[in-house]
């Protein structure tokens, strides 16, 4: 069955430090891949997506992610974290054809001043 794994439940980084959030998926074909962010008390907002083509994709708020087929990964990165980036981050895979979205369990990011 298709699944998404986010191995890190919590991550704490200092403001200005770099960030990498891990995401691994299980799917037979090349999936559509997404990263969403959820601020407290809010719904999810799209950060970036990968459908095909260039494996390094840019998103909003200075985030980027790289699709690595050989590792079944789609890790999210940011060179310098800001305090406002503290939130929960979700990786998602969409099963092509059905457009069924499967989300990972999320990674909660804490940013130290």
């Amino acid at each position: 069955a298709q699944s998404v794994t986010q191995p890190d439940i919590h991550i704490t980084v200092s403001e200005g430090a770099s960030l990498e959030l891990r995401c691994n998926y299980s799917y037979g074909a090349t999936p559509y891949l997404f990263w969403y962010v959820q601020s407290p008390g809010q719904g999810l907002q799209l950060l970036l997506k990968y459908f095909s083509g260039d494996t390094l994709v840019q998103g909003i708020k200075g985030f980027e992610a790289e699709f690595k087929r050989s590792q079944s990964s789609f890790n999210l990165r940011k060179p310098s974290v800001h305090w406002s980036d503290a939130a929960e981050y979700f990786c998602a895979v969409v099963i092509s054809g059905t457009y069924k979205y499967i989300f990972g369990t999320g990674t909660r990011l804490k940013v130290l001043a």
Partner: protein, 115 residues
Amino acid sequence: DARVTQTPRHKVTEMGQEVTMRCQPILGHNTVFWYRQTMMQGLELLAYFRNRAPLDDSGMPKDRFSAEMPDATLATLKIQPSEPRDSAVYFCASGLVPANTGELFFGEGSRLTVL
């Protein structure tokens, strides 16, 4: 500014009571999802609809949960009878597929507490 609207935002009820959550998807979107979010399970897909037809409700406890789309502007999720383990935040999301954006738009959620 188009957005997904969910009601109620908060609901506290007693075990055994019926709960109905409503969602107004973005006008023109043809796909609607219901998710449940808990600390332990994260975001669980309960059901989703395409053009108002249910495509998959395998994530939903069938004996007590039901999901419908009476029309294109309204999706409902009903729990009857409710149980304490149903306490969670329920999200509705809508999207337009197939589309080159693939983005889902989420409502702000309905926080349910069952006592």
